[in-house]
Symmetry: D3
Subunit: 250 residues, 6 copies
């Protein structure tokens, strides 16, 4: 009766996967096994559209591999929800992005909230997700001007900058809750919640619970319409192995 | 380490509470205790704005009572998410509506989906919720022309009408998933999913999992801003006992 | 040929009803009789979602009583438009909220305007109304940090705070007009308009004129669709007497 | 204590002005004097963007003349709300369009409604107004395929086509109310309301009542921001006489 | 194989037409002949809704004259896109507004950008265009507080004010690109782009290229629906000559 | 003074590149050289999110190679605008997607239009683009149920299906113009325009003209904010060579 949830860090930095895995295990149910993996190809960190796009092939490989070994759900542990639509089309199991999971959770406990992400390069892409997920008017996005990997380094001053930006969100946006806008912040939610006295939501934890929920409810990605399985066709060159093998019914 | 989740049927029909409780228990985690209660005052079923408004005092009483006895979260088991904002402002524990929970779940597994609710009287209010929750453009709402309590009566033909409307949603809306738009349909999701071959989402089950998620994540309603605790003040007449007792800090 | 318009103060503070009644009478037509009543049950003031919800039963009782005695329209004199949908479904006569009336009036004389309401607790609910009434992008909402009942007390400093907030709206929002966001401010519109040199709109007055307009035009709430009369059904417990007596046609 | 409201028919067909004037007088208050005028220059009927634009100079001349003779408000009796913004900037008195007035009235008595206008050429412009006035999602627009001036001719079959289109709106749109989308339909509202058994709103009547309301409330167009008075400057050629004479303060 | 593009300055100030013509010629293709004309009737500059409306007849005359002499496209060189819909309905050739052209260009090279226009009177109308063209959320509008004709006068200090406002847009809006919000700024784009180090878009140039594009692609305004040719009908008075001569098919 | 525009077919089917190149050359200016290339890695056709994502690395390689050889702009010849944001962040030259170019062109000549794309799998992604580009409410999307590569095969019946769907768009959507929703349809625009008597827009041609326009105007992608150059960082595994080499300034 154990369930296995795959958590993919779509960047190739294994130390960040540790942070993510710990956060995932900290909230997982007693019978949930967290399988955390690091992408084997692509950028060391995801900062902006270019890194995002190039993280997708590695991400899809990990989800496909996880699905073959029998995991029941997959979580994409990057706040840009990189590759989410492609993964949903590819996989039979449900796939959850940490941004969508975090925004949903926030919407259940606050009317107005602020996402604090890392770099200015990521701010507009996250605003795009806020719009996609129907939260325009409820959520603002701020960048704390922190390189993603600085979050792994206590001496970088990144945490201090993050705290300063949260303080500004509370004061200037009258934020009722804070969403941490990077998987690399997953270990900070509890302390920040205690210190600031308002809900602080980490997307990794949120996504694990959504994945468990979908499994328990017997729900998976619809294979009608937008997420229908990829049609069988040749793929060429370096990405040849990604060719969908089966003929999918429309 | 058990958690207790209160599920309030905000109409006063106990037989519907049975259906709801069974659905809740069917998806609840091993350590979750479902406490299902029926409102003691208000309409026998909730069909339209008038019933909705008059279900709120009874609903709030049940949530307040549940909170006093120590439940960790509350679910409002009516698809209109009746009284959700008032309950969130009143309670320290998180409160989840079954419509918001169902729409969130649907958004994780489908790009386009259709809510099938009971009566035409409820269609426009549910469309209002679709807009509130940011799903305009993704979700359509249909009414199957079923009185709510007919769902309790196998001889009423209600299930047949519901199936017909789902068939129309699949054909005409190209729905990728179906959301059941009434708590009284909670027992039908699995069978319909099997029969129609696409995800069918019941809000009661979805809300239980969201409530468990919030508890596991240590999150509750923000008390800053829109959901700040009600200010202490006199209440008069029949509703005198609802007067907030404590002075809330802004 | 006299018309009677019922104005319900949905909070239970009679002194505020005086202010409201005076404002209503100040703008009513020569043949309009204003019948101002105070709710007999519920909160002494409406500040936030909880008070709002619990003001509804008392409000509905007054509108039902007014309808029985023959009034031709009803106005809900609370800027949250508390209970508006329920009242419209219940009553055969037209029902007007002061927020919707004020926003309409403002939209006829300004492209951009600011609502100044009382407390931060009310700001987000009013923003919700701005969205519902299609004024997002045209109207901003500010809170002057005034408890509602302080408006009744000249020594409270409330008027000074209100003036300060209007000044900020003119300067920072470049507001072309101001909407007073509380029924308790109804007596202040003329003086503020003179002092600030821009239109200042009071919702009570606006709603009286809209009610007169609907009566003169022979229009009342549609009984098709969302506002169809409540279906006959049992109500239980404390709210038993609210049970709709008649079988409404769909 | 009489008030004078100017009603401008911005097309140059005097017989339509008769229809409009009669509708206006039918709903005006006892002390309201309706001054109905026909534009002296421009198109015989307004069907589409080109006619619309060329009706504006004649319309503005009539409003300026009305303002000089002391009317307290002006109504633009064309459902395209032709020239509304220019008129508001020009005049010190309030100016109301019949489309905006009708949509406001409809929003007070129905959640969903349909505008039935004349020709396909006018349908998209009216949809543009529906969006401008914040009614997208609530109001649909249909064209009955009637030339505007056919409404003046009982033998044209126009009324039959209008009735057919209303019937389709009720059936297909589940319209709760109907808005008549042409000033030339002003005389038909009562009969259609009686025949179809749902509210039918005429914009001419609605605009008269809104104009009376603004006068009674002491409100006029804000002169700050978008509707600030035109700056004094030379105008050349045929339209020389339109040059604003006074230096307006920003 | 030469193409002729008509550029109409819809205000009556010939010196501004010079600026516009120079900017147009500076970007036009080798075989494009720019025919720049000044309107012969209407306001000396277009600042706000009133000037806008009264510039339309003169504008339409120029476009009709241009069409008769055989130009293949027309550009309306006023950032309010004055008379655009009327011109499209009237003409068989394509017609481009400089605001729509500039916003399109900006959308191809930036996610977030700011329009800097002249006067506060023009700010809200331009915001209306931003909404119409689907750029809400991407584009902000600022006014530099410059009278339009001051742009023609080096001693006016207008350029300095424009630079200050651009600096604020970069700093406060984090604008990625700047759109110049007045035809009279057409000569400034290159220098400002060099000085501020980010793309600066002039609408005149943008519109010329869009006009060339439509010609090369063999595309012109659709004559079905909203832009169908005006119906033949009498026009009276001063504007008699505008009467559409031909019976257009629906 | 020749300009070179790179047109990348992001699928790996060279015969489709022929169609695209011919369409591009058919509209290009006299001094424009079209360099059409086929991606060397990825799917043979792009149908849905999965193919889309896996077409991006090959696409980026071609744009980077084109930039090194000195092209002045790049066009992505797939109607899903695959990889557009990543390409814009990566490249110094402007990059245009054929969907955005086609929608812009359509918006200049029609108020309401319909995109006819290939498969149901692509319909929802294209609806997503319609929303992103601000055309919701103006553009509908239909799928003709044609596999992309069937467009290359005259015997497939694809053209007939496309014509049927266009006919339905004209009839049911009252489309004023048609946008061809696949690069493989680029050769059909002229014939369909002649046959249906309304504008038919091909995105490949539209994008070439937009690219020429940006070059002529001296505009390229802003490097501030969302499209700032990718930060230098290690990339691992199969995609190692994509690592951005230069340190970009924020």
């Amino acid at each position: 009766m154990t369930v296995q949830i795959l958590v993919v860090n779509p960047n190739t930095t294994a130390s960040m996967t540790e942070t993510i895995a710990a956060a995932a295990r900290g909230v997982a149910g007693a019978w949930t096994e967290i399988i955390a993996v690091t992408s084997s190809t692509g950028p060391a960190s995801i900062e902006g559209y270019y890194d995002e796009a190039l993280a997708v092939p590695g991400l899809l490989m990990e989800i496909a591999a996880g699905e073959r070994r029998g995991v029941q759900a997959a979580v994409i542990a990057c706040f840009d929800d990189t590759g989410l639509d492609a993964a949903r089309a590819m996989a039979a199991i449900p796939v959850i992005g940490i941004c969508e999971a975090a925004l949903s959770m926030a919407s259940f406990i606050a009317q107005r909230f602020t996402v604090v992400t890392t770099t200015e390069r990521s701010r507009v892409p996250v605003e795009g997700l806020v719009q996609r997920y129907g939260m325009t008017g409820r959520a603002r996005v701020r960048a704390a001007d922190i390189p993603v990997l600085a979050l792994e380094d206590p001496a970088s001053g990144a945490i201090g900058k993050l705290r300063d930006e949260i303080a500004r969100a509370v004061e200037e946006d009258r934020a009722e809750a804070i969403v941490l806008g990077c998987a690399g912040m997953a270990d900070l939610a509890h302390q920040l919640q205690a210190d600031f006295g308002l809900p602080v939501i980490d997307g990794v934890g949120a996504a694990i619970k959504q994945a468990e929920a979908l499994i328990a409810l017997g729900l998976s990605t619809s294979k009608r319409g937008a997420y229908a399985s990829p049609l069988a066709k040749p793929y060429r060159g370096m990405l040849k192995s990604f060719s969908p093998g089966a003929v999918a019914a429309e």
